[in-house]
Structures are given as structure tokens and as C-alpha cells.
Subunit: 353 residues, 4 copies
């Protein structure tokens, strides 16, 4: 725990927010363990809800045009794109912005304005941040329960497309897999098969409406899982397979679950877990299409928030929040997630105060 | 050389064709060497032009509706789809038809009607074959010079899409690479870079209009070729990369030539040349899309023939036919292709008679 | 009522079916009143469920590959495409087949095999018909309640696309409008607004899940309906508007309900109700896209049947069947539909026997 | 002619440009005649090339990242989008920006900074303008000859898509029609038919590579033109029709030139020329898709400039500039265009000095 001064004055389009809850994401574990190159020291935490404490003089509206005031409960896109580089301008792919920064990842907290991550009492939102005022009937728990997994799934599925009536297989039942399941079902998937574990996560998948769950504890061999998927899909395999695991060997296994002409989304490989043997002939012969997708844009956050508000009955993401920790126990929160003991751990700075 | 009887009578929708010219395709080399499982003995040859010798009673029109008569010069799609299976009906992907057959590949020539391949004096076209009458001003050499490479490239590029103004890299300068180059340029690619060899093939690529050729003889290290592509593309890499090589290591090399958000087409892996190490994290982080494509449909043959007729001045595919052999020397034709000595070898049954 | 002989023998791929129920569609009213040119006399009825009475020797499977036997309950696509014309082959648009025929529409019943429509005790299904065996748990009422409206909506929405999270307006609350509503909701529309009447149809729309209904009885001026839509859509208009009315003036009204850049589907104009004044400048300035769609393909029927089976709880199409008539009272069934007194009238040949 | 003071100081991201050439566009005629509502008085001219006279302190690069200096020859996108409204942010349609402004159209020249249009000695480019440095080998005449017609055509065709091998009809042979022709040919259209006049414009269409021209002087009845298109397209009509005329009656005529399933782009209706009778039944029955498109984005200007540089030999847009006028004779330039006497009139402020 370190203490930093709050900014004495705000930039005209900046905002200071008091953190109410911050989620622990799988990427945080990689960052925490030093498996990804980031500036250090660093205040982690890129899934955050808080209350506006102070507003810059010119910041009058949230990203959607709603009036913004001190005291409003808000969340925001964790990343900022420059809007001016090759990818932002010419290719309209701001998630690959050459100057992209992300709260909880890209900033050294020794440098002002210091407060750049969610695992803290306050966070300073720089000019250009995409801030979203939360409606009263959308709980903080649901927003953090969905976390960056939901916007990641929305972006990835937007890129790949799920056609109405598609048969979808989802590899992985963690936050990204469950978010992909919810979004796939809401696209009108005719069948959604989830492969993962442990059992409490599969139970959530069933609550969300998966037609079938394949437990990796019960069906421990990949080839048996492939066989099971084929049995469930008239022998052909799925129209769409979404990888939400992050282990390289999930990719060839998932490709085998594809019918000819299927689409495959590599969604779980935010960390670099190394290469795997793949046979290009299979991609040619089966006429597959393999998609990658990185992060999300502010418009996906807007969609996510409306989705959480409108479909909360069907997809109660707040139930993913299984473990809560005060700010002093952030390390414990990270450990709990690292050990797969929680579905979702969260840090609550005001807890017990 | 074996002798088989011609069919005594034709089915109402069958046709007997006297072969004028048959091309040797890279796949023929794999088949000839026994690297792919096919019935044996087998009359190879799936790129063929001939003259109609006899017509079934009910066969009045070619695939496009033109009247068909004895004496007409024709070509045809090498493969037949059933029109009734899951892939033909529900998924509209006849190239993955569960009952697909191909002339020159799928038939044991010991079984009637015997004449099922192009390396022969006659070939029998079964009911359901997609036959195309050739216009007078479209030479046999140009059709065979383009061969199955052109329809393969048309189908693959249809699946992936080349956007107008895209920067395109083509790995490989054999028949598939040259066909992909022609089709990419005709799509309005703003820049087309060909990587391959030997020099006489690169010369054809230049004739077709490639903006830049990278010789694998001169730039023999993959990483240097990647670097060269980046230099030619403002440092970012290409919008589209088309693999037309068939060696697994071309795939990771090509993926490195992609800008973030690029599309990559695995077009050269008709044979199973084994797996290669690929890193799924790169697909996620760079937001790539990787496409496979298999064979072609009759409508691609129609497009190919019109393209060859209309754009012959710009893309003189007849120049690819560098070596001609009489039927007795078919083995020599295969050897010449296997040794990369020709751009395209062809068998001419009537040669020297 | 006329009597015709049943066919003495069946073609190898033909089938004779005893009709259980046949729906009355809006198009039937146009046909009945002589507003569309068809052969006469004509047995109408193109939405039909029946039991297989006799099977041709070679007809062993339904369109999806399931075994087919005497006694099976079946439905079928009302139209047959030739598979060989310009539209079938080159443009893959069999709904615009140059030789298209439809049961209940295209055949003069004076000519053998006579039994070509649903309003009869038997119907003869010609070779090439797309027959679907119905699962036990899918009721005849639900299939006929959905009728050709559902496959029409599925095809139209496939052509236009509904993006996940789109705001959708549906003009019309008849069978096509209700089917479009169900399919739009199942695509993940974030908001679905139905405009129509009378009240009992709007009640069904609410049951299906529409977020808002605008009654044309209560809001009788078009401009007021446009204003209401804008109020419901942050002032911008909808992402997607689907016209399911059939009156020309619905089109300019619907175009005004579009936000800039929206898509508009003209789905209700099966009959020629004449022209309407439209301003091309509005299409340019608002960057609209206007889609047409005609009929459906067998693969849409397959999707429809699976959808009805899987989503029956959410969309109880059987409730649309409000009026039943024996075969002798078919004229009364047509009159009931013509007068908008029913949501859906059906003919039940075995009724009261 | 009025005199206004140049700005005393520039905003950090503003620039002052000395005008070299400004094109007269058809829209200018509508603006000049008062047919569109704009602030008055107004310095018209939205197609301009000039030299940088002064640069704001922070303006170091052009839109593509090239260094920008005093003396550079530049052009720019005529319109500015806010980047923050519903259309800019959520719908990614900046051409429909709620706060859009355009040089030569949106500004009252009585208000500072006064110099907001191309028909002047100087123009002031505000912060956020998309400025493009012109390469040496791209002539001012070619850029102005292409004018806003080219970026308009690029945007419209991007929205609609032209598939490789499509048969394309272009209604109109003015600047927009000729630009659409060039872009369509470069997309790989298999056939391009231009309908228009007068003869000197058709001659340019032939130079660009149109396969066939239909003169409206020779074929003066719409139905005869429809018939001629059918004759040229195997009786079916075109895959794609692009309206570049601006007269409402061109739309129903063009729709008749469509094959079933075709796409139609309403590109010429920038002015409001009133409504026309259209039959929605034809859109449904023929399964058409009708697109609108408005203006262009900076990325289209970048594509246009690269296209003009790379394809200048094939499409010599400089030849469209048929009439030049000094600044004092701007009214004459407008009159010449209004009377269809020029292909393209331009204003050259430095002419004769």
C-alpha cells in the first residue's frame, strides 16, 4: 500500500473518481506475476465502478451525451486511443491504436497524476476517457461481474459474427466464456455448448441457458470432448467455436470441433502462452475462418451496459462476483483468482469502513 | 499406357469428349507420388479442354444455357457435387459436398466408364457435370495455362474478400500465386507484392503487373522477407496476404507480413504437408482473420472463362504453358513439373499425329 | 368443391399426402379475388401439414436426410426451383428461379396430377419437393400458425441482417409482422416497436416480447406515429424498420422512422398495390439501405421448424390460429381472413368427420 | 468580389492556404441558385488545392502523418465532423455528424475568420481539418478534375460494394458518373455501361474504359434505354446500377435496369429534386437492394489521392478540366457549369497575374 497525493487541480476534461469496486481479471494475474511487460510500480485494476468526486470545468457530459455531475456513479472504458494514428484513422481499428494507453496497465504510478488504476481509493480519468453514467437500476455488482470479459466478448463476436441459428461451442467457462455464452445466446444461437470447469462455473453456464455443458474434469481427454461435440451436432461439428481458455492446446482442439466452413474465434489469448502445432492443410481443406480480436472500443461498453440492464434477468452477471476483499487485501484477491477459487474476485476500497 | 473401351452408349445427360490438352497441376504430383489416398489405377488429369465427340440424348445446353453440339470445344469443372447433402443444401458449400467426386482423382479407371481423367484420348463426362462451351477467341492454351489455379484463386479470394485499394502480398509465384496475383490486381489492389521464384516466374508476375517482386533466391531468410514487406508498406505490413506455397513454414512467415487487422488466406495447402508452430496470441493481439478455401464451384469456372476472355491482354495466361508433351510422355510431363523446370507442363494427346 | 382422381401411380420421387391442416395467407386473398395472374381453376393453399399416404419408390428421406415413411406427419416448401437457370446457378437466388412453381398457386387443377394445393383432402408432392418430417413435439397448429409468414421473415431478415443490439421497428401486426417480431427479438434486437392493429394482434405482439406497441387505431396519423417512434429512440429513429403492411404509403412513413444510416426491409409487398411518391434525396441524404426479399428457400423452412420447436415457449405461434373451418367452408375461411376478423384462419379437411 | 482581412494569428492547429485552383461542382450550382439553405453571404468552393502560407504552431503533420511545412501544396476534406455525437461515436458515420460543417457551404463569410471557401485568394483551415500534402507527381489539375465527385463515388461504392466480375450500369456521364465509372472498373467490373451525354462526356467514358455508352441524345426514351441495357446483359439486367444524374425519374428507370437481386446506388441526389413514383412491389419481387450515400470521410480522400497517383494513366481525370476562369469571373464559371457547356469548370485565382 502506497500513498500518493490527489491532483491539486483537474484538466478541463479530466475527472477524479472515488472507487467503489474494482474487478480482478485474468490479465491482472499475468501482470501481477510479471508475465507481461508494463511500467512498474503500477496500480493495477482496469474494471472499475466509482462515484465522481470532482469534475474538470469543461466535462459536462458522459460519452453518450448524458449530463455528468459530482456524485454520479460511473464506469469507463479502460483504454484510450489517440484518434490520429494509422489504425485509428485509416483502418478504423482503435483497439490497435499505436498510442493506446490503458488504466491499470500502461502507467507508472510514480509519475503524476499517480492514480491510474482501480485498486485504489481514487482514480484520475484523463481527458478523452470514455465515461459512462450508470443507470440506477444497474447494480455495481453486475457491471463488475461482467467486467472487461463482456466488452471483450461483444467486440470479438462483432468481428466474427454469429449468424442467427448457428450452433456455437464455447471453450472455457471463466468470465470470458460465460460472457461469450450470454452474447451468443442473445444473438439467436440455436444451440450453445460450453466446455470447461469447475462445476460451479458450469452451473452458471446452465443458468445462462447453455444447452449442454462438457466438464473438463469428467471428460479429460481432448479427443473425447471433440467426439462429444460431434455427437451433439449431427456428426458435423459446430458452426462457430469460441476459444476462451488461453492455453495454446485449446486451439487445435477447438478447430477439430468445427464443421467444414465454420468460424473460430481466438478470444482467450491475451497473454502470450507460446506457440502450438497447427496444420494449415486443415484450415484449407475444411474452409475454416479463424478470427482474432483484441480489447474493445467505447461503443462496446455502451452496448454492454444496455445489455446488462435489459437482459439482467436472463444473465445475472452479479452472481459471478463470489469473493470480495478490502483494498488492504488486494494481494489476497489476486491470489484467489490465480488459484481458480473464485468465479470473480473484487476489491472494495470502502469495505469495512 | 492402357487401353479401355469407350462407352457403348451414353447416359441421356452424359457426354464423350476427345481431349485436346490437359494441364499438369501441382496436386497431380502429390497424387502421382502416392502422397494422397486415391483409388488406383487412376487416369490423372483434372484440367482439360476437348471437343465433344458424342452427346447424350438429353444434353442440349452447357452450364450457362448455350446450345451444345458435337464438335464444340469445351472445358468443365473437375468436381461434381451431389446437391443433396448437408453441405450442398443447408450450408451452400458444395466444395465440401459429402459425396464429392473429381475427374482425374476420384475414380478407379478399371471400373466402367473407365475414361475419367484428362491424360487420355477421351474422357466421359457424367450427368451433372458442369460443361462450358469455349468461345472462339479464347485459346485452349490460355484456359489450360490458367488451369485449376485460377478457379481456386477466384474462390479463395471470394471467400476472403479483397477490398478495393488493399495492399496485397502473395507468397509463391507458381500457377496459384500468379492466378491470385491477377485476380487481386483486377480487384483494385493498390499494391501487389509477389514473393517467390525462380526468376522466370517472377518475370511473369512483373508482366501481370506486380508492383514488387521479392526473390526467394536473393532474399533467402524469412525474416529478411518480412522486413522487406514492412519497408514496402509504411512499416505496417499488408492488408491481405495470400499463401500460395504449400509449405507449412510459409504460414507463420506470412502472418508476420500482416498489418494488425489484416486478412490471411491459406490457399496453397491442398496437400497435407504437416503442422507448423503458430502462436495463437499473435492472432488475438493483431486481430487477424485467417481463411481457408477448398476447390471451386462451377460458377467460378464461368467467371474464370469470362475473365480470361476479357482480360487476356493484361494477363496472358497462355504464356504459362512452357512445356508440351504427347500422351506417351505423360510421365515426363509430371517429372518436369515435379522438378520445377516448367511454369506449366501440358499433355497434348494429338501431338505429333 | 370438385372431385379429382388421385394419381394411379407415383413418380419414383413423388409423394401423396393427406392434408391435416392448411393455412389461409394474405396472398391467398389476393389470388382468390383475382388480383394476381394465376392459372384457373386452381386449388389454393400453400401452407400445409399432412400425413404421408403413399411414397414413390425412390423417396427414402426427407430434405434433411431423415428417413421418410408412410404415416409420417410432414410439411414442405411451397415452391420448387429448377436448380439450372441463371438465378439458381449463377446468382444463387432460387427464390427468383426462372422456372419457379408453387403449390397452391402455379398449377391448373384441371391438369394431372390435379392435387396441387392445400385446400383439399390430398396433395401430390412432385419430385424435387423439399419435404420435412415434423418432430412429435412440434404441433401442427404451431407450424400452420407460423405459416409462410415465418419463412418469409427469416429470408428477408437474412438478406438485410439485424445486428445484435439494433433498435427495430415493425410496421404491421399481421402474421408477417408477428413473425418478423419473433425473429428480430431472437436476433438480439435491443428494442422492438410494433405498429399495427387491431388490439388482439398487438396483444400477441406483447406476448412475444415487443417493448412497445403503437396502435394505428389510437395513433391514426402517420406523422404522429413517426413522432412516437422518434420519442422512443432518443430522437434519432430506428436502426432497422421492417415493412409488413402491404400498403404503399407504409413505405415513406417507414423511411421517416429510420435513423440516418438505417436499413429498411420492404417485406409486405407480395401483391402489387401500386406506386407511391418517394423522394430519392432522402435515401441519399440519410444514407439509407432499402432491401427487398421474395419468398424463401427450403433451408429457411428447416430453420423455421427448429426455431418453432426450440422457442415455442417464448413465441407460441399456435395462438395465432384463431379460426378453423372444414374443407366445405373454405370460402368462409377466406372471407374471415379478408375481413381481418381472424389473426389466422385455417382449413381442416378432416374436421367434423 | 469582397475583401476580408486575413486572420491576424492562427490557432495552434489552424492553417492559412493560398488557393491555386478550385473546382465548380454541381452542388455549387444548387447553392448559387439558392436551392439549398445555407448562410449568406458565403464564399463557395469546396474542391480546392493550394499552398500552405502559414501554419499554426502545433500543426506539424498532415492527416496521414507526413511532415507539413509552409509552401507545401495541399488539398483537404471539405467537411469536418465533431467526433463526439451519436453518429460519429456510436454509429461510426461521420458523414452524418450532427455538427458537420463544410468549407464553401456552412459558413457565413461576414463572420471571422471569413475565408471559408475555395473561390478566394486564401482559405483558413480550422483545427481538425483533414489536410493532405500532395505528391509532386500528382498534378493539381488531376486532383481538381476528380474533385468531390471521386470521393463521393468511392464512399458510395464502399457502402454498396461492387463484387468482382459484376456487370455495372452507370446513369449519368458528368463528374460523378465518370468517377463512379473509374472506381467501378478498378473494382473489377466485368462490364461497365454508361448512359448519358453529351458526346464529349461519353468520349471521356470510352477513354476510361466503358464497354458501352448509351447516348441520351440518341436513345431519348427511358424504356428504350432499359431495353438496350437488357440486350447488353443477356436479357437479365445489371448486377449493379449507379444513379449519378440527380433527376428523380432516373431512379425508376434505373431500377428497371436491375436484374433480380441487383444493387442500386442513389448517388446523384445531393439536391432535393422532389419525389417520384416508385412501386414497392418491384423492390420486393425483384429482391433489390437500394443504397444511399452522403459525402465522404477523410480516409476516402486518402484513397482518392493514391488512386489518382497510381491509376492516372488509365483514368486521366485532368482531362475533365475543360474551362478555366480567373477569380473575377467566378460567376461565369458557375454559369458555364450550369449550362452543361463544360465537363468541369475551375477557378484559378492567380490566373493572368
Amino acid at each position: 500500500m502506497r500513498q500518493y497525493p490527489l491532483p491539486a487541480s483537474l484538466e478541463p476534461l479530466g475527472a477524479l473518481v472515488r472507487v467503489e469496486m474494482a474487478g480482478v481479471c485474468g490479465t491482472d494475474i499475468h501482470l501481477w506475476k510479471g508475465q507481461l511487460p508494463i511500467p512498474r510500480p503500477n496500480i493495477l485494476g482496469h474494471e472499475t465502478v466509482g462515484r465522481v468526486e470532482r469534475l474538470g470545468d469543461s466535462l459536462k457530459q458522459d460519452w453518450t451525451g448524458l449530463p455528468l455531475q459530482v456524485g454520479d456513479r460511473v464506469t469507463w472504458s479502460s483504454s484510450l486511443a489517440c484518434g490520429q494514428c494509422f489504425y485509428c484513422r485509416e483502418k478504423r481499428q482503435p483497439t490497435r491504436c499505436l498510442n493506446r494507453k490503458a488504466y491499470g496497465i500502461s502507467y507508472n504510478c510514480e509519475e503524476p497524476p499517480h492514480c491510474n488504476g482501480g485498486y485504489a481509493e481514487y482514480i484520475y480519468l484523463r481527458p478523452g476517457s470514455a465515461i459512462f453514467k450508470l443507470p440506477e437500476d444497474l447494480s455495481t455488482e453486475r457491471v463488475i461481474g461482467a467486467g472487461c470479459a463482456l466488452v471483450t466478448a461483444i467486440h470479438g463476436i462483432e468481428r466474427m459474427g454469429i449468424d442467427w441459428h448457428d450452433v456455437v461451442v464455447i471453450q472455457g467457462a471463466g468470465p470470458v466464456g460465460l460472457a461469450a455464452l450470454a452474447v451468443a445466446l442473445d444473438h439467436g444461437a440455436s444451440q450453445a455448448i460450453v466446455i470447461g470447469g469447475p462445476e460451479h462455473r458450469l452451473q452458471t453456464a446452465r443458468t445462462f441457458g447453455s444447452n449442454e455443458c462438457i466438464s473438463i474434469d469428467e471428460v479429460s481427454h481432448g479427443q473425447d470432448r471433440v467426439e462429444r461435440v460431434r455427437q451433439l451436432t449431427r456428426g458435423f461439428g459446430a458452426d462457430v467455436v469460441i476459444e476462451c481458455v488461453g492455453l495454446p492446446e485449446a486451439v487445435p482442439e477447438g478447430l477439430e470441433m468445427c464443421r467444414d466452413g465454420a468460424r473460430f474465434l481466438v478470444l482467450g489469448h491475451y497473454g502470450d502462452a507460446g506457440p502450438v502445432l497447427l496444420n494449415p492443410h486443415h484450415i484449407t481443406r475444411k474452409q475454416l475462418v479463424v478470427y482474432g480480436s483484441w480489447g474493445s472500443e467505447p461503443r462496446h461498453m455502451r452496448q454492454a451496459l444496455e445489455f446488462l440492464q435489459a437482459r439482467g434477468d436472463r444473465f445475472p452477471f452479479e452472481d459471478l462476483v463470489t469473493h470480495r476483499f478490502p483494498l488492504e487485501k488486494t494481494t489476497e484477491a489476486l491470489e484467489t483468482t490465480a488459484r481458480w477459487k473464485s468465479t470473480k474476485s473484487v476489491v472494495v476500497p470502502g469495505m469495512g469502513k
